[in-house]
Amino acid sequence: MSAATTTYGVEPSGPKPRRVTPARIGIYAFLIVAAIFFLIPLAVMILTSMKPMDEIRGGNIFALPLNPTLDYWVKAWSSACTGRDCNGLAPGFFNSMKITLLAVPISIILSMLNGYALSFWRFRGSELMFGLLVFGAFVPFQVLVYPIIFALSSVKLPWGGTLFGTLPGIVIVHSIFGMPILTLLFRNFFASLPGELFKAARVDGAGFWRIFFSVMLPMSVPITIVAVILQVTGIWNDFIFGLVFAGRENLPMTVQLNNIVRTSTGTVEYSTNMAATILTGAVPLIVYFVSGKWFVRGIAAGAVKG
């Protein structure tokens, strides 16, 4: 309360006068400084990708481009070199697309079935299976790399060669490693549904598949969106599986990006590198900015990544 009102004998009434306290200023200052720290790399990425190396020289990474150009984006997309091939990131983009479009639906459908069965159709050992699966979410991939290489190489394809280093191979690997988190996600979702719903469908005479397709699937749209977001960003951002299992013909965008950057000769050409980086990050970033709160919802369940 201000001194003036007290002097005039006016009683405190209505809302308490708000003062801007140092604590509040401190909170905002902290948040803004933090926000700047988080935004700087994005700004540097964008600025650098639109100006030649001459303009970056001499400590000008934050300077606006004098003549903004998308030349480096074009170069990164179509003509940057990895080793002797100079096809840019484009092949990697299409490889990542293929891998993502195949692995996302497969892993989600499998995991949805798991979650559904684990919530409503428990059988002897189902909880043990689930426990093992969740345990798998914590195991470092490196522990399983060789066994999987070995297993995939043992599967001979009719048209020659093995599963190792093929598109189906990498899709299988992504489906395996997506399963623990997604199963957990779907199990928790189905467990939160009223059990009466399931009982009512049972009383109506529906069986495992019927209940799944007619009752559960239509109700799972929101959680499926979360799962899709989780899997699209997870698979798109994957590096190590693509590196090890995809084979030279199917290298995903992240691996190609790294190869392009490693290939630069002489001075590092940051302009092209940053353009390539933005192009590679574009898909998950768009997914992130469009999905907003959905993404945050998926985080608690899916924050495990490489």
């Binding site: 009683e11 405190p12 209505g14 809302p15 308490k16």
Partner: protein, 357 residues
Amino acid sequence: MATSVQIKDLSLNYGAVKVLDRLNLDIADGEFIVLLGPSGCGKSTLLNCIAGLLDVSEGQIHISGKNVTWEEPKDRGIGMVFQSYALYPQMTVERNLSFGLRVAGMPKPEIESRVKRASEILQIEPLLKRKPVELSGGQRQRVAIGRALVRDVDVFLFDEPLSNLDAKLRNDLRVEIKRLHQRLKNTMIYVTHDQIEAMTLADRIAIMKNGVIQQLDNPHTIYNKPTNLFVADFIGSPSMNFLKGDLADGTFTTNGVSVPMGSYGFVGSPNGKAVLGIRPEHVQVGEDARKMPFQFESEIEIVEPMGAETVAWTTLAGQSLTLRADAEVDLQPGQKILVGFDPARGSVFNAESGNRI
């Protein structure tokens, strides 16, 4: 008696929504006030305003003669008990009771004596070394009351303290709260949506709706002379029977049936469209009905034996009528029986304003 809590023209708005609307309430020293109403009526909001947990939009709050509108909760001389108990889970009962006093820097011996007194009053001495997870719901709520007790304050605020307990425990603790009030003689403000709690505990009940107090009176008056249709309908279970009709020259007519109002004490201008309210227990059947000023023949439709009593459904002039009869009275669905009541014990409301006339 001296005023303990005084609320003057209190309003609270969230944007255009008025949660409390120019509300006035004077609470006497040592009085037990119950704020009662359906959810969303503003009763908890009012309590939070008194506690200083919500900033008011307009008006003033005085506690023990001091204007506390802008004071911090801890400086208002209040203690509060919450529905979820709100005990600090990582602390023992003893520490839960003493934590606020320690933070305030009170000398150790004083803290000890206060904790001792509170735990004696509430009989929680054996629990002092336990943590909240190791207590039952009733024990937790007792500790929560103890936390308000050690503050040694003038006014106790209860925010639906018994709602999380099962029915039997709720009854036991209700009696204990009443005993506590008789012993301490503090002012208590108690929020609930349970009318039994309100009727049994309160010196006065404030019935709220849409941020406005509808009626503030002792339980007997609230029950027998409800001030409007809302109060009449809200209090009482099974709820009051309402017959729609017209009132002219001391006679209430509904669907062609005339009910002479006899010695009913009208206030204001009584003629026009009206609603007659009759409590189910004022409706008599069989021999008892013969003594009633108004009688009619009717058919029993549904019978609900409740153990101590029987609730039955019949009709009067095409409108449903509930009645409460002794469990010994033999009632059967389809049975034709004489039904009667004393209109003077009923309540008549203006059909448009809903106010008692």
